[in-house]
Amino acid sequence: MTKETDEAVIRCDGVWKIFGGRADQALQAVQQQGLSKEETRDQYDCVVGVRDASFEVRRGEIFCIMGLSGSGKSTLIRHINRLIEPTAGAIYIEGRNINEMSQKDLRQLRAEKIGMVFQSMALMPHRTVLENVAFSQEVRGHSVKERNANAMRAIHSVELDGWESKYPDELSGGMQQRVGLARAIAADPSILLMDEPFSALDPLIRRQLQDTFMALSAEMKKTTLFITHDLDEAIRIGDRIAIMKDGVLVQIGTPEDIVTNPADDYVADFVAGISKLELVSAGKIMEPVASYEQRRGNADMTGWPEAHPEQSLDDLLNLSIATQHPIVVKIDGRPLGVVTKNALLRGIKGGADDTGAAA
């Protein structure tokens, strides 16, 4: 086992999924002739769900996959616990290829290592909250006492104490999804798969659940694959984000990367409406001192406000309001770069490239 696979808890390696009776033929044609989604549909009566997806999720990381509906997000996430078999490619969980696992091992993996939350919640209507939450331990044959204790702990951590003997249809949508979350974490799995968990909720409740989830996540340090169609949510929650379009992962990077360096027009369109204030740091938009001085001659930097390269545009804006001078970006008291008012405005607007980003 190499060091990378040790580090990567989830690894997808060239995963393809084509739906339809002639999937194998269609796959060959797509790989060799590069047929588009529509051509594959017309010629082979097959739907391309996922197209050559490769990515890694590191231990403890929250990895968001963002894309419009129909872009193949649900299809991709269902490969991670092999609810769907790939047409080609391999999926590794902690270095083990799960497509080579026996059904028995696979069931154990699903019950003990991976928790899943669904957009439709998919709670069992004939079971109480407690019975729903304890389900994965029940199918593993754990004792009632043990599984109820674990389930009660999970119910407590999603703030649903007192509701454990109610049935799902007695709960509001937000509470139902809390149950979904509790069910996913009850067996203390190391991996969470979340398929648009909060999309069906109204904005206020969604925000609350995001907060609950992020608090839980910070505490539990679970490796999480999080699907969403909402870029704001992806940026709020994700350590890294992958943008998916028509089954292809078009860009993978940190929120800042994606917002400041969109890989293509499609991503650029997406991030156009996103506020850069919190995301972009001084380091990204500053002009190196040397190039500034070449342009403007030697500068006397006394009285200039000072910032750290990690500070956000929001902070720079506050510094900038109080003075006429540009801002100097320093590390350990050594000036590294300069952010002029114009550069700051361009950065906020999303044109960081014009000023020449620092290395």
Binding site: A122, S136, V139, Y167, E170, S172
Partner: protein, 328 residues
């Protein structure tokens, strides 16, 4: 085929004889030569039916009436219990022997429905899981439901002779299809995302069937049981032609003698029995949600008895009190 020379293109069918009727007759020969095997099996089943009959008839009518009313109360609530009580009293008042005949008919229906359930549930599950099997099964079920009973009456009698067992077999042929169909429908109708969730949490196909699909399909399956009971009852007159006793036999004999009074007693008896069985089985088919998520032992006479005798343990509050508060 041998009269090839006289083949007439304008009337081809009169000159072709594939011998279907003859080969069907061969069944008779087979049955006669296998009598030794069939008879002991028949004997066992006959004794079972007779045992149900005698035990139902051994209970004094008043006790039986109270028992049935209690069952109705438990299964479907107090309103249904009152209907059942009134209906059964009317049944008893129809004629002095109406009650006994009704119990005999009930015994045949119970035997037929139990066998239907034992055969129908697994077949329905298979049909739900396997599209090919369902496709093959469908024409068979259609045939079973539409073919006139008289057609299979004769071969069944030839195979096993007249009596209760043939009566039960004939009834099963007619009453089984809806149970299979509705079992399959119920399982296919289970929300696929719930089944997917069960799979995602490590449930095996068997666990999915018993912990998710069957519980969620129960209301539909019980609707199938209800249909099967009703169809079984509608077969009692035909079954009486092969010497099955009970209310159906009254109707048959009355027809023979043009005795309108007796026919009405028999006919009304069957209708009342149908109403009673329908209400009770429909009550059982209500989903937990309709009943406000109470377990069956939390309501009806059992719930009452438990509440009166048992220690003061709190029961789940009714749904009305448990309505979800909106999230804050």
């Amino acid at each position: 085929m041998e009269n090839e020379e006289t083949f007439n293109w304008l009337d081809p069918f009169s000159s072709v004889d594939l011998g279907i009727a003859d080969s069907a007759d061969g069944v008779k020969q087979w049955a006669i030569s296998n009598r030794d095997v069939i008879q002991p099996i028949k004997q066992v089943f006959n004794e079972l039916v007779v045992a149900i009959d005698t035990s139902l008839n051994a209970v004094p009518p008043t006790l039986m009436l109270i028992l049935l009313v209690l069952i109705a109360w438990q299964a479907a609530g107090s309103r249904t219990a009152i209907i059942v009580g009134v209906a059964l009293t009317c049944l008893g008042l129809l004629s002095p022997d109406a009650w006994g005949l009704a119990m005999t008919t009930l015994a045949i229906v119970i035997a037929a429905v139990v066998v239907c359930f034992v055969i129908g549930l697994p077949l329905g599950i298979l049909a739900a899981k396997n599209d090919t099997f369902e496709k093959m099964l469908r024409p068979v079920l259609d045939t079973m439901q539409t073919i006139p009973a008289f057609v299979y009456l004769v071969p069944v009698v030839m195979l096993v002779g007249i009596g209760n067992v043939s009566g039960v077999i004939v009834t099963i042929i007619f009453a089984l299809p809806p149970l299979i169909r509705l079992t399959s429908l119920g399982i296919r109708g289970v929300n696929p995302s719930v089944v997917e969730a069960a799979r995602a949490f490590g449930a095996s196909p068997r666990q999915i069937l018993f912990k998710v699909e069957l519980p969620l399909a129960t209301p539909t399956i019980l609707a199938g049981v209800n249909q099967t009971i009703m169809l079984s009852l509608s077969m009692v007159v035909i079954a009486s032609m092969i010497s099955v006793k009970g209310l159906g036999n009254e109707v048959l004999r009355a027809m023979g003698r043009l005795d309108a009074g007796k026919a009405i007693v028999g006919g009304l008896g069957i209708v009342i029995l149908a109403i009673v069985l329908d209400r009770i089985s429909q009550g059982m088919g209500q989903s937990g949600r309709e009943r406000g998520h109470r377990h069956w032992w939390q309501g009806g006479p059992v719930g009452l008895a438990l509440r009166m005798t048992g220690p003061k343990n709190e029961t789940t509050p009714p749904a009305a009190q448990a309505t979800a508060k909106p999230e804050t």
